[in-house]
Symmetry: C2
Subunit: 204 residues, 2 copies
């Protein structure tokens, strides 16, 4: 291991192209880890406990939450989801980079619990373009699209405290920026403590 | 102008390859500005006041220094040198990026006077390699090389508070890291205030 790992947090309004960008990043950097989340929802066909998710009872989840076990957690449609903090810290110590693909509420919690993480907000180029993309992908009803657009406006108000803003105007340009941000995050002295210490000893 | 400018501060021990890296950066990004420094030394043959330097009397320089006119200043071989802060702030407001190619003492002052600057420290891969490079360039006596190596060790102790550490092991790799750091610095929300405001209005 030549450095500590970094936690890279990506947030984006729905339809902004985050999934595509994350896919490109993981293809170029297969060493980027996800941590396994905990959830209180029932396993779906084929899902394996401890691999896809840690499936927990509601009681267990809420107890762990109170014990500050999670880097971030959320309730979605009555089910709880959370990312355990300790395994993330362990991966970082081992020099593995960990990707958080989470919404602004989750990112805010990670900022509290893992302040050394690097936060990237992916933005749409504008309202009309996001609406066009949400229609073009053909996944949602008009009502759902309206809700997504309204949420996008709310979520983007949080962008101001992120470390880097990446506008997804052209995919290749947005990816180049995201890639630069990831690479730069790994250059922080807190990731290079051992290298710096060895270098200072070399010059002592 | 689509964003505010950033102040990019580069420091490196002598012989680390900073001049080469700065040259590559300025070739790829000709819009990167230097500000004109003030000095108390006499103009050399062909140097133009207000273009190469602002040539000031010692009295004037010291008064300006006391008035906190400089982003950073230093005394070198009995002459004073300083970078005026106001023109830098003006360039940043106009969306122009400003490069500071300065030592750790100067960088520390910029950190105080322009805390939003982005600080990159360029490091040699090790003691023996730096010694080899200093000999290979054939500019210095053995005595001067010894002093440079000793200074390098002292300067690198400051690297810990910089934003990014770039080891110049292979020039192309080091340049790619420096380039990523520069690009990422420009993605900070404080550089993209207008864009973000416009986008939020678009979604309001």
């Amino acid at each position: 291991m030549d450095r500590q790992g970094i936690a890279l947090v990506l947030s984006a309004p729905s339809g902004t192209g985050k999934t595509t960008l994350v896919g490109m990043l993981r293809e170029e950097f297969p060493q980027l880890c996800y941590s396994i989340s905990c959830t209180t929802r029932a396993p779906r066909q084929g899902e394996v406990d401890g691999k896809d998710y840690h499936f927990l009872s509601r009681e267990k989840f809420l107890r762990l939450k109170d014990e500050r076990y999670f880097a971030e957690w959320a309730e979605v449609h009555g089910n709880f989801y959370g990312t355990p903090l300790a395994p993330v810290r362990e991966m970082l110590e081992q020099g593995r980079d960990v990707l958080f693909d989470i919404d602004v509420q989750g990112a805010r919690q990670v900022k509290q619990n893992l302040p050394e993480a690097f936060f990237v907000f992916i933005l749409p180029p504008g309202f009309e373009e996001l609406r066009r993309r949400l229609h073009a992908r053909g996944l949602d009803s008009e009502e759902v699209i309206q809700r997504r657009l309204a949420n996008a406006g709310k979520e983007m108000k949080e962008a101001v405290w992120y470390d880097a803003l990446v506008v997804n105007d052209r995919l290749e340009d947005a990816y180049a920026r995201l890639r630069a941000a990831y690479q730069t995050a790994t250059l922080a002295p807190r990731c290079r403590r051992q290298m710096l210490r060895a270098l200072l000893e070399d010059f002592a």
